[in-house]
């Protein structure tokens, strides 16, 4: 008997009992659909998170001032004022692994353009900030080196600020007031979206750090809130951290054995966390999938045993007209695999629809991978073979004489 005919006979037997076949396959359908849907949504979410992290900037490294120790008490992180823009320049000069560097001074305040006002944060940075954050201009241009040197009152707007202050008007070369100081708008940044922790990165104004320090904060000192730098390559991260640390300790004249007065952080921890979460999710999924497929498989085994005992006479007849035991085995095995395979295919379809609905509601991208679909198909067919074998074996072992006599 050829394979094609075996499959056709199996399909016909299943179609003959439509309701029963559907109910039996339901276990597999639900299991596969759940896995496909969760994998698709999960991968979509993971990609979104990765995109948000890389939107922070490429190979980003952040240096914060350390905590101050005075009279035996530790202040919070950033309470020391030892980190300066000159430190950043020195690192850029001496450490070839660092590609670009920008100091960062934060201020906040009410911004006003005509009758519109908007409270936002002002980031004081240098001209390399654009490179560090890999952030392009939507219109106009970034401020220049001489703007930084002379602490000019110029600024660049994030999209959110531009929309709220100007409401459709062209902001270029207009003058806004930040904390009552006039600033000329020289450019608008492109939209960057929200950061990994949900903050709107476009709700900001960018100005020369010198201007923020001297004009908005009214301070003559060059200490900064943080230094941002991008590395040439992420591979050199540990070496770069080491070298930066060495340069800073030397510049800050720290004796060996004393604590650093700065902290270097990078994005690897966040990336690691995402990897951990996604591998945990994969494990959970595997468990759920295994359980539901096993439950579905047991259902198939059960119904196949029923089918074998219902069709004992048919088996006896097939044996009498020349079927070999192998033919009977294959026939019932094919039926079980057709059942689970069809369940798998329906499950994949259902899973994809559910994933699309979830994605639409949550505005996530859906990632339906071919490998997940292939794996689901293989597994559902495997379940059919595994759980269908025992009933098929029982059918093939039947005695033709007794089977024919069965009422």
């Amino acid at each position: 008997m050829t394979g094609l005919i075996t499959i056709r006979i199996a399909m016909r037997a299943l179609v003959r009992n439509k309701t029963r076949s559907l109910l039996t396959a339901l276990g597999i359908i639900i299991g596969i659909a759940a896995v496909i849907a969760v994998v698709a949504v999960g991968q979509g979410a993971s990609v979104t998170m990765r995109n948000q992290i890389s939107s922070m900037g490429n190979n980003l490294l952040l240096i914060f001032p350390g905590s101050q120790k005075a009279g035996g008490f530790h202040g919070g992180a950033g309470t020391q004022q030892t980190l300066t823009a000159e430190d950043g320049d020195a690192i850029l000069r001496e450490c070839p692994m660092v590609q670009a560097m920008s100091p960062m001074v934060r201020a906040g305040g009410q911004c006003i353009y005509r009758e519109n006002d908007w409270a936002t944060s002002v980031q004081g940075v240098n001209v390399q900030y654009q490179e560090v954050r890999s952030w392009d201009m939507a219109s106009g241009s970034f401020f220049t080196e001489s703007d930084v040197r002379s602490a000019s009152r110029v600024c660049v707007l994030g999209q959110t600020v531009a929309e709220n202050l100007f409401q459709g008007e062209d902001p270029l070369n207009q003058t806004i007031r930040i904390k009552n100081m006039p600033f000329r708008v020289v450019g608008v940044m492109t939209k960057k979206g929200s950061a990994a922790w949900g903050q709107d990165q476009d709700d900001t104004i960018i100005a020369p750090w010198t201007t923020v320090r001297r004009v908005l904060q009214n301070s003559p000192f060059n200490n900064v809130n943080q230094l941002m730098m991008s590395l040439v390559s992420m591979d050199t991260l540990p070496a770069a951290k080491d070298e930066i640390s060495k340069i800073l300790r030397q510049r800050h004249r720290l004796n060996p054995g004393t604590d650093d007065d700065f902290t270097i952080t990078d994005m690897t921890e966040v990336t690691q966390m995402i990897t951990q979460v996604s591998s945990l999710m994969t494990m959970l999924l595997t468990i759920i999938a295994s359980i539901s497929l096993a439950v579905g498989g047991i259902g198939i085994m059960n119904i196949m045993l029923v089918a074998v005992s219902e069709r004992t006479r048919e088996i006896g007849l097939r044996l009498a007209v020349g079927a070999r035991r192998r033919d009977i085995l294959m026939q019932f095995l094919a039926e079980a695999v057709a059942l689970s395979g069809a369940g798998g295919i329906i499950g994949i379809g259902l899973g994809i629809s559910v994933a699309n609905i979830v994605a639409k509601v949550n505005h996530w991208p859906v990632m339906i991978s071919a490998s997940a679909i292939l794996l689901a198909l293989t597994f559902s067919a495997g379940v059919g073979i595994f759980f269908g074998f025992y009933p098929a074996w029982r059918a093939a072992r039947l005695n033709p004489i007794e089977s024919l006599r069965r009422e």
């Binding site: 006979i9 048919e314 009498a320 007209v321 020349g322």
Partner: protein
């Protein structure tokens, strides 16, 4: 000589008791014979028919079918012999439910040498025409009378052109008129050269056969 049985014995083991079903049966059946095997229940006539049909193997003795020793063949080899050399007709027809007459007749062709679907259908159609059911090709067994169902079963038995037909109480479930029709069909097939061995306990039916083998307590009398 189509069938040659020599000193065939068969014992059934039933919970510590051995029940001898056949004791040293020796008989020959020639090509073209029409034999009725008669006897009371428990006389061993069904056991004999099962052995003749290669559904079972004897404990001892030799069985030559078409000059070939078949009593020691493997189950796959027996399956092929059942497929090619023997056609079965049962008391309860044993047709596949909710399956057309045409497909029921085609069934043995699936287990023999490979032939095309078109040829399979053609042969089944020809045989159904032969038994007078050319207008019932697509009917399911439930839509056919008992006599018609048995005709479908006979067409199925003939589809591989076997030299031997084994019938187990073929008229047991039929009214006397259908029974006479079926027996007339058997006689017709016999005239065409097919050997028929039939188990029955009705003398009226046995009368259609050319020879009657009487069995009692596992022996031919």
């Amino acid at each position: 000589m189509l069938i040659s049985l020599k000193e065939i014995s068969k014992v059934y083991h039933m919970e510590e008791v051995d029940v001898p079903a056949l004791r040293c049966v020796t008989t020959n059946i020639d090509t073209g014979e029409f034999v009725a095997i008669m006897g009371h229940s428990g006389s061993g006539k069904s056991t004999l028919l099962n052995l003749l049909g290669c559904l079972d193997r004897p404990d001892s003795g030799t069985y030559l079918l078409d000059d070939k020793e078949v009593s020691r063949l493997s189950s796959d080899e027996l399956a092929l012999i059942r497929n090619q050399k023997i056609g079965f007709v049962f008391q309860n027809f044993n047709l596949l439910a909710r399956t057309s007459a045409l497909e029921n007749v085609e069934l043995p062709l699936y287990y023999g040498p490979k032939i095309s679907g078109a040829e399979r259908q053609e042969r089944a159609r020809a045989l159904l025409t032969r038994v007078g059911l050319e207008n019932r090709l697509g009917h399911h067994p439930g839509q056919l009378s008992g006599g018609q169902q048995q005709r479908v079963a006979i067409a199925r038995a003939l589809v591989n052109q076997p030299p031997l037909i084994l019938a187990d109480e073929p008229t047991g479930n039929l009214d006397s008129r259908s029974a006479d029709d079926i027996m007339a069909l058997f006689q017709e097939l016999n005239r065409e050269g097919i050997t028929i061995v039939m188990v029955t306990h009705e003398p009226d039916i046995a009368r259609y056969a050319k020879r009657v083998i009487q069995m009692k307590d596992g022996e031919i009398v």
